[in-house]
Symmetry: D2
Subunit: 366 residues, 4 copies
């Protein structure tokens, strides 16, 4: 298969954000660069983008493109949060753990409450019990929004009916349901459902739609399915410094990204490579999967010796927290939990090269 | 002069942000897209950028690239402002007037105090008198930082000695001096001095270095000359949602921008076109300049008839506020104040086409 | 007249907050101290207070007692302000000048815009022109609330029809109208109108009702005439640290304050003493009133010699800013502007003692 | 002993804030009311208070009196917290659970991280492990302060050496240690140590000194042992609306409170009554103590039948959370956890009346 001009195999599984833009996205960005266009989002590219999202979601939407996922999440949460309100999420959610307080900042001092849950998933019953157990005094911050990540931080995927169950809990209590869709494309490809089915039809009110991890350079958007949630976002984005004067930068990337289902193709490649990697690793003696591989992230419990061998060979990947492991899954002495991420740019050769190092005695990939 | 493949003349003088990236910047962005790189600013491009800025400013600097000027300004001010502090600036400064409260947001509720001044310049004596006249009680917010724009919002330029005079006022009172350098390149080209002379040597402590208006798509940076001011900026940027995962996007643009003094060439072209436009317009009967044209913005007082004629011909430019006019300059009945902005992409043909419409009876451009 | 046990004349005209509580207020506080009561405002005193305010204002009201005027103002403004919103007030309003940024803090980064105006009054035409002149872009903070002080910081009083004119400007543009009633009692006594006429009937939506300056020790309340504005105030007060566990402290003071129109008697005494003082001072050669004396504050332009003589005799009062003087009133060389405040505790002897020092040659008070 | 004019027994054990001020405190408040005094804390009572605290703590201190414990805590934490910083406390601490986000608000969006621990105590080893386990990236909020409550929310008391152990963990990592001393007097009486030994000598840097729960009406103070922490508190208090114009209100209460060790006498009475109550209850069949009674709060696991009987007899007390129970202590079916609080005003008759209802068959108190 590998032809003469293929790049050498790369062992970089650190994250899906180590790669630049995929080729059609980059081309769209270059094409969008030409000529004078109105600034601050009044350009035709940004307008076309709004139409493209409405078509994609089969729903009227308000769209607020921004350059980072942290901005999208913080703005989305702030749209529904009082400064004294509570956002409930998984205890390892990106919004609570990896954004240096951006949601608290944008919401003016609100609080995030993290719940445990295997695979970084929220469980509807536990969510309901938590919400119903919160004291109802003026002393306590009232829950106002629930946030879930799709795919989750453990690389697993909520089914539409699981989202609907969480939404039912939220709606019965007047709460907004937010989806952090940093890896939404990967989840969509796995589920084979429509974007509508995975979002508003399942009860999502507001979405952080991610492009950066799946082939854009910097393209994210807050998508409001409920127009009430869009009311303050223009000003919140501006005062957050997230309104690009040359808004075409993000709009062009997204147009290239969405065109001809390029984004789904990217996600399909990333997921396929993750599947290949997971399948290979789980057959290596001593390695087991921490969670099922349902998107483009592979989480494995590695014997230290294999970890060392991989790193000595130049493989790049991150150790990971085991807080969201199922009770029956444990990381023993002499082992560690690791995350390996694939992307649109990962090739079968890259995966196979890693697998060969993990299991040098053969057996794998043969 | 115009060859067969020249683009037709364009009458868009709305802003220097209506254009995309200049060619070398775009090329650098495309080149920087290749291959896997560490994310969140650990990539070699971002590291090279820090060196490039240190060389440019002949000074050790801490550099925080961001995607918008509003973010750069708000972060820079927040580095020196208590949540109960006061930032003094011109009453028409971008930070007080055009950022929907971003500085107040990032600084946690601080206040901006706008002073009058011809050409949007702060006057050292008035600044000193204002600072010394502020009550010194716990009830009042203490002044902590002064912000100036270079070039100003009226398109004029502070000389290094003018900056030094403002800095002396600040330093004598323990205040930080910030420069909003959204159009710093244009000012630099006008003055013919070094970047060091215009900034830290004149007493600037922290700078918003702008690239977007002068040939980048989205590239700005907070530059700290005083390392103490850099202490919290990493976390402030992250929680502001302004730390790009693919930091190469901004770093690559800036590297192309700075390479071979391309940025100064861009600014020179913009300034030359502004000069040509100003020179042409001021000879049109009925038109007079509101302020001297010292960068890439031309402010003219236009008879309504000419304004109408220009707009009917498709010219695009913005009406402007006259608050910073010199006392002796007034906008009479049947007149209005207008801003026309040129950029690296403006060509002599564009200028001349506009001038022909402004003065159809000839005399201009002949 | 003076009996043997009268206290000696006191020359303290620094402020109406230099005195403790008036006797009926103190007695009510002591009486309210007895026995166990539910905490956090569930006590019967606080409930009676809500009824008392409803009766006083002839309107259903939501009442939020707090201990300081700054808290009342900041909470009231935050009830109507987005974190990106604008509050318009006089440029010398207490909220913009004397609260160390409390409104900005409680409103999460909002901005206050100060307008000039003689006697610290907002003029409806200027207000309308200002509001209509604000740019309507996402870059600019939208005006959401207007705040006036009654009596003003210059000691003059808005007539109900003046308030109604401001309210008309606000309502036509969807803005809320707030009254800082730190000296509301003094204004009410001057006007001889009902509390309803001066507030909601004239178009006030939300009020800071002050008691501290007029005979309480620490008793203020946010009064919402529009129930929508009350929606978040319980939580905002709690997270501001302004919900007293022993809420009886404020409620008891207020009950004593309102009982048998004691508060109006206090204000009548303060105003009468201010009138006596103003009448005396304006007949002293070289002294003139800066603004009419319409409440309990006397503002005079004093020759330096008299100022010195008064201070040497132990008189206490504050120099004042002349920014709100009428154009025709100026403070000449050898003069200064001074504020003298009377209170419920000021006696005729105090006033006369000061007048005797101001005009030692006689003529006054004879 | 009981004379004819004793009040009837009262069954109110809801909280120590259901009572007004104790008699000496009230008298001091009334005495402090007389005469004109400078406002905003420049009065001699406030100055005497600063001296009194310095003497009490045998240390130079900066003192910031405020009216509520929430204000004291939020201000104290904000003195040491960046807006992106982390405060570590017990998961049931008042600051994280009962202040509607006041610390987050005053610190501009900071986060509180709650740790488990029996009796609402932080354990030094767990604290160290938590702090050392926090990721050290820009993405994560850095720990900056640790807060403990003395007595804890479970009514137990940290020994000086326990505080010193926590302080050692903090100091080794550059963190500030804060004590929420809402019930500091009760703890002090239990321990029999000096105020210095329990605070700065054990490593406390900043303290919320509570008076309200132990005989004041509204008197709390932030006490800074480290002068650096006092630097911004004047302005933070003012912009929080917590600077009383008639500062004498709080100062007078505190002077009466501290005079002749009245505060310790109050705490001794409250603790003695709690001891009597605990001793009585634990001998009632079916009742057991949830935690040892070390201050003025008694936590018991009650059979539903006794709970019902007490409430039917008019007893007032709150159900409580069992999260801080020791692993071996469980609340079974047909039981609930309840908190009963005593105060300076609780009398032996009150306790005995309750005990008689709890164990009507006798046996108790005999």
């Amino acid at each position: 298969m590998p032809s003469g001009d293929r790049r050498p195999a790369l062992l970089n599984f650190a994250s899906d954000n180590v790669w630049g833009a995929s080729e059609p996205v980059l081309r769209a960005l270059v094409d969008g660069n030409a000529g004078p266009l109105p600034s601050y989002g009044a350009d035709p590219l940004t307008r076309r983008l709004a139409d493209a999202f409405a078509a994609l979601f089969e729903h009227e939407v308000a769209v607020f493109p921004v350059a980072t996922g942290t901005a999208a999440n913080a703005l989305a949460l702030s749209a529904a949060l009082s400064p004294f309100g509570l956002c409930v999420c998984h205890e390892e959610a990106h919004v609570i753990d990896d954004e240096c307080g951006a949601p608290e900042f944008f919401a003016g001092g609100a609080k995030l409450l993290g719940l445990p849950g295997t695979g970084c998933k929220l469980d509807p019953e536990r969510l309901a019990a938590t919400l119903d157990g919160l004291p109802r005094h003026e002393k306590q911050m009232p829950a106002e929004i629930v946030s879930i990540s799709q795919a989750t931080e453990s690389g697993v995927v909520y089914r539409p009916e699981e989202i609907a169950a969480l939404s039912a809990v939220c709606r019965a209590r007047g709460l907004v349901l937010h989806m952090d869709g940093a890896r939404l494309a990967n989840a969509l490809v796995t589920l084979g459902c429509s974007a509508a089915e995975m979002t508003w039809r399942a009860g999502i009110d507001i979405l952080s739609f991610g492009g950066t991890k799946n082939g854009c350079l910097a393209a994210e958007a807050v998508i409001c399915f409920d127009p009430k949630l869009a009311r303050t976002l223009g000003q919140r984005r501006k005062r957050g410094g997230h309104t690009l004067s040359k808004a075409r930068l993000i709009a062009a990337q997204f147009l290239g990204y969405l065109q001809d289902d390029h984004w789904l193709a990217n996600a399909r490649q990333a997921n396929a490579m993750a599947g290949r990697l997971a399948e290979g690793l789980r057959h290596v003696p001593g390695i087991r999967l921490a969670w099922p591989t349902e998107a483009n992230e592979v989480f494995v419990i590695l014997p230290d010796e294999i970890d060392r061998r991989l790193r000595q060979a130049g493989a790049v990947f991150h150790p990971w927290s085991g807080r969201a492991l199922a009770p029956e899954t444990t990381v023993g002495p002499g082992e560690s939990l690791a995350r390996l991420v694939t992307s649109f740019a990962t090739e079968a050769d890259d995966v196979d090269a890693l697998l060969r190092i993990a299991a040098p005695s053969g057996g794998i990939g043969t």
